[in-house]
Amino acid sequence: MGLILANDILMDVSYVLVSAVVNTTNIGTTIDGGTVNAVTVSSVVGMYPGAQIVVGANGSGTQEVVTIATVGPGGFTALFVNNHPVGEPIFGATFPEGQPDHILFTQAEMLAYLVEVENDFLLKTRCIYNNLQTPLTPASRFYAQSADAVRLERIGLLSSVATVLSIQEVQNSTQTDLDLENSLWEQENGPPQQWFQDQIDTAEYGFYPLPIQADTIELFYSQKDVNLTTLLSPLLVPDILSHYMKYGVLARASSKDGEQKNPLLTEFTSKVYDYGIFLTQRFMNSTDVPNPKEAIGTAVFQRFPIYKQLYSG
């Protein structure tokens, strides 16, 4: 997990959209946790009832998201969980334009765009991997992928004899191959030798032969982000790639119907986002980071033609 949070990306997006952000400081008194506080701030720009804002510095143990209940000329009220001293920063991408009845963007909408974009990036680059050991159920052939799995990359079968632990690769195959090799393969039982994902339900995998004991398998899979749920959620993509999430969100925000529709911004940010995917894939291929059976690539950086197209156009 990196240091860049969802709110950081959405604040970056706000600045490009010339949308006001909350960026102020508690100048009143200490905030008490577990109760509603009236907080005096140096500016209420970007605040409105219902807006979620971040209180506390990034990296501090008491940082939290609070929902504004009321806003006055010099401050706001909200229910707090943690204590906060005077002087702590208060900030957030609230997208206040048009509140309350001609809203351009909602925070939930923008966070949803960010989730979409990050998982699209993780799908296209498969740059984050996980390994997981899980038990098999006797007499059960099919299993669901882990909820955070983009794609299964490898399965191994664990075994132990006395103090020796061993994991043996289970071969990746297809039911079509198995059908052609042995039409009665479904009648065989034993430790899994092959696994497949074709002609079964979405995001499932199956084994040949049918497991008959509670063996443990090890899964290698590329991962997606299932924990990006609040403004304080860290991104699963490394920090160094996080700015491409900004461009992906901008591409979505600027392509929706309404006053903020901006075809040039959509086209440009879409291309920058695509370029980020291209650069990441190239970097991964050059350093053997992806699933190695697919590695290709060159070491010397070359320009991607999209910029040229946009420039000359």
């Binding site: 240091l3 860049i4 949070l5 950081d8 970056d12 600045y15 490009v16 010339v18 952000v21 960026n23 510095a57 990034n58 990296g59 740059c127 984050i128 991997y129 390994n131 490898r154 191994g156 103090t163 020796v164 632990l165 061993s166 994991i167 043996q168 690769e169 990746n172 191959d177 290698f220 590329s222 991962q223 490394p238 920090d239 160094i240 790639l241 700015h243 040039l264 911004l265 440009f268 940010t269 650069l279 990441t280 970097f283 991964m284 050059s286 350093t287 053997d288 980071v289 190695p292 059976k293 697919e294 590695a295 070491a299 010397v300 950086f301 070359q302 320009r303 910029y307 946009l310 420039y311």
Partner: protein
């Protein structure tokens, strides 16, 4: 060492903004992040900076998989003591199908090889068994900046002087996305300058060591259609 606050002034100059109190752009929340974005893109494009980490990395015993150092994007080399060979897990499966076997009762501190496992982890084999920490030195492609937002301006710029104008170019281009329209389109010429400089940096990095992006060595295996998908 140059800091991003030093380059920020040059970015503001290009944007015709006041250095002391910019109006249309926020120094801390826009200009500084644009400069970090420029460095991030330079790293992705060229694989620089490469850092042999000065603090030895402690291998977690009893596990093939280790978390990458949090400020590292890709592992390039491992040593300690001596060069530790790089593999891929696919290659290991073909070369030695029992590579994931080890005796948990026999102390083992000799790492035979390592392999990449996404940007977030890497693997070693065999796992370390027994008491006492086993440490290695990692050479990595490191994040140019690994700090929480907002940036302070004191973040250092770890590129040679002759490439820093490119970072200013990129940041000033990124800033003009906010202006949109003709300003954005005209900034593409500035972006083009940045990309030209990145080509030069990439050539320089390749000259320093053309094998810095090393391919693994091992069997030349033919892949099945299923493996290829």
């Amino acid at each position: 060492m140059t800091q991003i606050s030093d380059l920020a002034n040059l970015v503001l100059d290009q944007l015709e903004e006041e250095r002391t109190d910019p109006i249309f752009w926020n120094l801390q929340n826009e200009i500084y992040p644009f400069l970090v974005e420029a460095m991030n893109m330079a790293t992705l494009a060229t694989g620089e900076p490469q850092i042999r980490q000065s603090v030895p990395f402690a291998i977690q015993p009893g596990s093939f998989f280790q978390a990458m150092p949090p400020n590292a994007l890709a592992l390039l080399r491992m040593d300690g003591p001596g060069y530790i060979r790089k593999y891929s897990w696919w290659e290991l499966d073909k070369l030695d199908p029992g590579w994931e076997s080890y005796d948990t009762s026999v102390p083992s501190t000799k790492i035979q090889g390592w392999f990449p496992f996404g940007f977030n982890k890497f693997g070693i084999f065999p796992p370390v068994v027994g008491s006492g920490p086993v440490t290695v030195y990692l050479t990595v492609v490191q994040f140019p900046v690994y700090e929480s937002r907002p940036y302070t301006g004191a973040e250092s710029v770890d590129y040679q002087q002759e490439y820093m104008d490119a970072l200013v170019d990129y940041a000033s281009h990124a800033a003009r996305i906010k202006e949109g329209g003709q300003e954005l389109l005209s900034s593409l010429a500035v972006l083009d300058r940045f990309l030209n400089k990145m080509e030069e940096l990439s050539k320089f990095a390749t000259r320093k060591g053309s094998l810095r992006f090393t391919k693994t060595v091992g069997v030349a295996a033919k892949q099945t259609d299923v493996e290829q998908r």
